[in-house]
């Protein structure tokens, strides 16, 4: 249970309290970093985007509306930063995997070794995520992994709610298809 709410911390941060903002970072870093990684793929680049987002939030925390939840506010900043970085990126160095490689690894799945299976599952998921458009990755991550509603995701991404529903649908279908052979065996 959180004794101090996000809103309280944000208001203290807006008054210039770096410790209060640090507490917000402590709470929201995992989600922000996951969403940034969903958008960008590369963990280091995602952390850079997440750091930019938090520092921008610190500078602009005075513009946060305390009547609204803090999560979508910080996630909107983070998603914008990460998606902008992705658009500007010329070479996607973190996503060298191709569907061809995924097929070859899937075909060599060595029977009962759970650790190997987990490793291959991760690789398969990596490939499937890399094949999705960044906005779809963010949408499905926010919906299924972070528990946000379609409306909240629409607000974060600045797109209509119907677009988010469509993004989640297409992303789920692709991910489930890619993981089907592994999920069936469990």
């Amino acid at each position: 249970m959180q004794t101090v709410t996000d809103t309280d911390l944000a208001q203290r941060a807006a008054a210039g309290d770096p410790e209060a903002f640090g507490a917000l970072v402590e709470r929201w870093a995992p989600t922000v970093r996951r969403v940034a990684r969903a958008a960008l793929g590369d963990p280091d680049e995602a952390d850079d985007a997440a750091q930019d987002a938090f520092l921008s939030a610190w500078t602009n925390v005075g513009s946060y509306d305390p009547t609204r939840p803090f999560g979508p506010w910080i996630l909107r900043i983070a998603a914008n930063r990460a998606l902008d970085r992705g658009r500007k990126r010329k070479v996607r160095a973190s996503e060298p995997l191709t569907e061809e490689r995924a097929e070859s690894t899937a075909g060599n799945l060595p029977g009962p070794d759970r650790e190997t299976e987990r490793s291959l599952l991760r690789e398969r998921l990596d490939v499937a995520l890399a094949a999705l458009p960044p906005r779809q990755r963010v949408a499905v991550t926010m919906f299924d992994a972070e528990g946000y509603s379609h409306g909240e995701i629409a607000e974060v991404l600045g797109v209509p709610e119907g677009t988010v529903r469509s993004d989640v649908f297409h992303a789920r279908r692709a991910l489930r298809g890619a993981l089907a052979m592994y999920r069936g065996g469990e």
């Binding site: 210039g16 770096p18 903002f21 640090g22 970072v25 402590e26 870093a29 995992p30 970093r33 996951r34 990684r37 969903a38 963990p43 995602a46 952390d47 997440a50 750091q51 938090f54 520092l55 610190w58 500078t59 599952l121 991760r122 998921l125 990596d126 995520l129 499905v140 991550t141 919906f143 299924d144 992994a145 972070e146 528990g147 379609h150 529903r165 989640v168 649908f169 297409h170 789920r172 279908r173 991910l175 489930r176 993981l179 999920r183």
Partner: protein, 107 residues
């Protein structure tokens, strides 16, 4: 895993997979880095920012003042000294003859 990709329910299994897969390592280090940046920024007062602008501003103003002073003392006096006075211009252009002729004809 839920079969219908267009339903409104969370897919808990896919969600857990994504959280695990995208879950970043080094939470403590990341948070410490942001905290340090924020603390550094908070410790920097607006007067520090103004101070950082003041020094180059003063240096630029001093350079401009020196240049202006040099131009006023050296450049202008040299120009005045080397210029031709109106009397000399008048004399060299034969102006006195013209003025004399004009005044005689007027009579």
């Amino acid at each position: 895993m839920i079969g219908n990709a267009f339903d409104h329910e969370r897919d808990a299994e896919l969600g857990a997979l994504l959280r695990d897969h995208l879950g970043p390592a080094g939470h403590g280090a990341f948070v410490a880095r942001i905290r340090a940046e924020v603390a550094r920024d908070a410790a920097t007062s607006p007067f520090d920012v103004l101070g950082s602008w003041l020094r180059p501003g003063l240096a630029a103003a001093a350079v401009v003042a020196m240049a202006a002073g040099w131009w006023l003392t050296t450049g202008v006096s040299h120009e005045v000294a080397s210029s031709t006075t109106p009397v000399e211009i008048f004399a060299s252009s034969g102006g006195s003859d013209y003025m004399l002729a004009t005044s005689v004809e007027g009579r």
